[in-house]
Structures are given as C-alpha cells and as structure tokens.
Symmetry: C2
Subunit: 374 residues, 2 copies
C-alpha cells in the first residue's frame, strides 16, 4: 500500500529524488505540500490545485478538531471525501498549533490542556487523542504527537521537550490503528545538536516509516535552521522519507533539499498571495505597487500558470486595490505553481547530477522574505 | 459584425429564442449575464464561468470609471483583455449606480454631478462622457446614458426623468464612435404605463439596434414589475433584442421571458452565494443551517456543476462557518450554473412550444427571495 524509493542520488550534494506511493497515489520527491489548514487550500479549488502540479497536501489536525470536529469529518466520509481531494493528504499532530495558537492551561508529561483560540472551549490533547483524531480524519500520512517549543528556549526546557516528544512518539505509535495510514515521528531539539541527535536516535529506534524535522522556522533564522537541518537529516534513515515541517522560502527549500530532505509544507505561497505578494523567477514583488498600474505584462513571462497565461500585472493590481476575491485567488494559484515548478526544477537538477550548482541560484533569492512563516 | 435572429417563437406565450452574434461570439437568448461589477465576477475566474454555460457578462461603467478608470483599462488593452474574458461583454451606462450609490450633487437637464462613494471625489457624467467611457472600455454592447429614479416616485418627477432619458438617449447615440459596439436605448417610466409608452415610442423612433427596460426591480414588487414588463416589451421591435436590466429571481425571469424579454443581468447568484444562499430545483436554502452539519448529499442531486459533483452540504456548511473563501466560491459557481440551466430549460421549452406550462413551475418558486436586488 505504501512504499518509498530513492530514485536518484545527487553526488554534488545530499539531495535525492524519490517516489512515495500512498493509497491515494504517488508523490514525487522532493515535494512541496500546499497547506489546507481547515480543509481547504485558501481560495483554491481541488481541480485548480491539481493543475499547479501539487500531488499531496497538508491539513491541520488542531483546526479540524476544533471545527468541524473529527467525528463530523468521519461521518462525512473522511478527510479526502470531505475536501474533495483525491490525492494523498498528510495531517500534522496538532502539537505545533497547540503550542503556538491556543491559550495553554496545563502541560504535563501526559498531556496538554488548552483553550480553543476560537471560543475558549477547554480541549485536551495527548498522543492517544491526537492519534485517534488523525485515524478519524484518515489522511495517508499522520504525525506522532509532539511538543514544539518557541525558540530561543532554555536548555532545560528543551531537554524536557525532547524527553516528552520521545515518550509521546512511542505512545502515538501504540495508539495508531489503521494500516492504510503511515505514521511519521517528529525530531525536536531546537538548534541544540546534542538534543537533536538524542531525539533522532530514540525515534529511529522505534522504526517509524518516515521522519520529520520539527520545531524549525520558529524564530531561529536561516543559518541556524540550515545548520540544524544539515546536522539532523543524515541521522535519519536514507531509505525513509524525510520531512521538514513548516518550511519555507525558496532559499530554505533549496538548502534543505541539498541536505537530503524530501518533503515540505508551508503557507507562504497562499498567505503571501492573499496579500498581493508574488514569487517570480527574479524575486518577489508586491502587486499593489503603483508601478504596475499600466503594466500589460504577465506576472512572470516564464510561468505557465493560469494567472500568467491570462492576466496583466495592471489587472492583478486593480483586483487588490478594489478588494476583489480574484486577486488573492490568482496570486495564490501563481505562487503555488511557482513552488511546484521549483520542486520540478530541483528534481531535474538532481536527476542531472547538478544540484549544488542549481541550488546556488537560490542562495541570494529574496533574503527579505520572512523565514518564519508558521 | 452583429446580428440578432429570432429562431423560435413560442405560441403559448410571447417567449422567443434567438441568437445574438457579436464580435466576441454568439449569445443564445433568453440569456442571463453574470455581473462583473469591477471587472471580475466575484470569486469566479473566466474559465470557471465559461463552464457554468455563461456566454455574455456585464460590467459596471460607474465602478470601472472610478477604479481603475477607463483610461487605465484602455491602456491595458480594453475590457475583454483586462478581465481575461474572451466572450461578449455588456456595459451599463453608469446611470443606475449614479442614482443609487453616489451622493448626488447636482442633476440638471445636461448632466449629473456626484461624489464618488469611495473617496468623495467630484465626478460628472452626461451622455457624451458615459458614451466616451464605454467606447474606451470596449464592451460589445453599451447602453445609452439614462436617469433611473427610485420607486415610488411622483408623476411630475417621473415625467422629467423620461424627458431627460429620451434627450440623453439621442445625445448618447450621437456621441457613440465605435462600429464594433452596439448601443441599446433604455426605456424608463417607472410603473406608469403612459410614460413607458411615451419613452418606448421615442426611443424606437431613434432606431436603436436593441432596447432595455430599465428602472425596475427597485422597490415596486413582482406584480407591478410583471405588469410593466408585459406592457412595455411588445412596444419594442420584435426583431431587436430586449433586455430587462438588473432582474432577477427565477420567478421574475420566467415571467419576463414569457413577455418576450431576451436578456437579463443580476447579482443574485453571486451575492446570495457569498452569503451561503443556494438556489436548488426545489427552492432556496441557507447552508449555515445546523441541519446540514452531517449532510453527505450534494447541494442539488440534479445539478451538474463542479460544486455538486465534488462536495457535500456538510463540507460547504463547514466552509461558511470557518470563513473559508471556498464557500462563497463554490456556492457562486453552483448558483451561476443554476441560472444558466434555468435559461437552457427556458430555451428548450420555447423550442418545444410549451413555455406557458414550463413557466408555471416558477410562479411559486421562493416568493421569499428578495425581488429588489439592485
């Protein structure tokens, strides 16, 4: 039902191409997953998303647990049918959002209790509940429940986080009930290499079919992230998929692929798109700028997306200035296609054994793009 | 470049089928034009709109004049290229919005001066300016500048309105510069049959290639509208297209087609769609209703739209409750398809000479749907 095959190993870097087979179809790696937080990629319908080249998407357990609730989604036929997305889906464990969005009431070694950011309702999450919820949602890949600390963070706290994350990973694995879902473990440890090693080794010992690097893109900056990824990725088994959670900018992605990471998710293409920010081959632009008022050119002449094939920059600017929904929709479509083309180019560079050279192009790409997008 | 042919005349009513040829393609009548007020059908992209069956759309001169300005659209290649819509477009004259949206500063026999509803900027409109603006926008069909009074309205005022509308129609025709655009005249006169006759006769004397019935759906109610349409339509030449502006509900449309009207525009499908209102064969529903929480059925089993083929009512309800853009988008798509299917059914009923019987079905359709949607 599942398999992961490394199909090409670049020799100029640690980058590799692979193919992940799931019950809902294949995913070519390196892969970028658009984020459908509440069961919808904001502004983009499934058929449009397919045409951007996306194969797999992510949905957030925390948000879906609060609304409409995992029982509701189960009764409506599971997450794939609910969303009308026939391809593979990954759900996160809820851990990240619990620690970043909610008002925490209690965190102990067994569980987290928090108040919903929507209505203040008291909710509990622990490895058993997070796994049961993900079993109900029915994504192809689900994540072990983890604790995700904000950085910077004191060493003692980080130690406790890693200890809990390891214990919770084991409990998540035991709670997992469905054979048609793979569960990945999440390596925590901030930017502390010792703790990253400890956590990675403990999780690898449990024999997960895939591993994520979590707790990055939360304030540490690109260099610290790059060092942590370069250190952690090689400790994860080469024959299993590696997933860097919540990342990132084109520069972040090019870096992490070069360290051997296979999967990514990030809200950047849709969030920036909704705010008139476009990713072009030459850098990013803001469409509200007066300079585009009479611009008859497409966003990016080299892009083959729906937006670039049909509309001028002048029209897109107008849509944002008057507040038409089509502005966020068209820029999200373009940005999503940009990220998928980035992955296609990366895969081609790996297949042609020139990844190091190709990735150089992205080192200087828009350093001003926020790295911390979670 | 243009032609209008009546292809079928129903004998059970005054309904007829026709075909309007324009430089941007044909329009089968009776036709419903979705409204792209500011150069975009809210939430719906051109390729999606085409798949609903829409052939021709409407855009509002008043809104486009204020933002981005007709010069900007002209520099960006004209309205078709600006919007990425390759089919026929109709622009209204701006008259209706001037009298309904803006703060009027001065109305005299020559022109209207008003403050923009956006930033208070002082703007003038008269037949010459409204025509020049529409020539710049470049729609296939443009409208003579008219005055549109709110109803109820005193007889003396209505007389002045009709007198001005007739004079302005003549001035609009003289100002019209482009051979690749048809200009329609607009019959005003409220619900006063004498004034409707006067206005219609005067305009018909000017030899417009098409005529609109304006000034309805502004508070007069369905019965008064029906009487006015039934009275006015036969006074307009049978070999020219007849267009009822800003109408309406399925009941209004079925009524007006039966009186020999060929073209319609209305914001109802998109406006109601954005507010969780769906048009079904059986009546209208509000998707926020708790009763749809676990509903696995499509919106309307008989509908072939994208929304009905892919999503459950439970999912659509969720999208509205959490405020995802996909909710308004998917309901707008469905409603637009509903209105196009309504037109297809009407055309078929006319072709099969059973229009009176078919239209009976809609007499009782959702009387609670607001008639006054302008």
């Amino acid at each position: 039902m599942f398999s992961f095959t490394v199909t090409n190993q670049d020799t100029t870097s640690s980058a590799r191409c692979g193919r992940l087979e799931t019950p809902h179809g294949p995913v070519d790696t390196p892969a970028f997953m658009p984020v459908g937080t509440r069961g919808s990629i904001k502004g983009v319908l499934p058929d449009q998303l397919t045409r951007t080249g996306a194969q797999m998407i992510l949905a957030n357990t925390y948000h879906l647990l609060l609304r409409p609730g995992s029982e509701v989604i189960e009764r409506l036929g599971g997450l794939h049918r609910f969303m009308g997305w026939e391809g593979p889906i990954l759900t996160d464990s809820g851990g990240f959002q619990v620690f970043s969005l909610s008002a925490l009431r209690r965190v102990d070694d067994d569980e987290v209790e928090f108040s919903s950011h929507i209505d203040g309702a008291k909710v509990r999450l622990n490895p058993t509940i997070a796994t049961r919820v993900q079993n109900q949602l029915g994504a192809d890949i689900i994540m072990a429940f983890d604790e995700c600390p904000a950085l910077p963070c004191k060493r003692e706290h980080l130690e406790a986080v890693v200890e809990r994350t390891v214990r919770w990973a084991e409990q998540s694995l035991s709670a997992h009930q469905r054979q048609d879902q793979l569960m990945f473990g999440i390596v925590q440890g901030g930017t502390d290499m010792d703790l990253r090693r400890q956590c990675a080794q403990a999780l690898v010992g449990m024999g997960f079919p895939g591993y994520a690097i979590g707790g990055l893109s939360v304030g540490e900056g690109h260099e610290a992230m790059a060092q942590t990824v370069a250190f952690t990725a090689p400790m994860l088994p080469g024959d299993k998929p590696r997933y860097l959670m919540g990342v990132g900018t084109p520069r972040d992605l090019a870096m992490a692929i070069g360290s051997g990471v296979d999967m990514f998710d990030c809200v950047l293409p849709t969030r920036n798109g909704r705010n008139a920010g476009a990713f072009l081959g030459s850098g990013t632009i803001k469409l509200r700028n007066q300079c585009y008022k009479h611009d008859t050119e497409p966003l990016d002449k080299e892009c083959d997306c729906y937006t670039c094939r049909h509309f001028s920059r002048g029209y897109l600017r107008h849509l944002f200035l008057v507040g038409e929904m089509a502005g966020p929709i068209l820029l999200s479509l373009h940005n999503l296609r940009f990220f998928q083309r980035l992955m296609q180019q990366a895969r081609l560079a790996i297949q042609e054994n020139r990844y190091a050279q190709w990735s150089q192009r992205w080192v200087s790409y828009d350093r001003e793009v926020a790295t911390d997008v979670n």
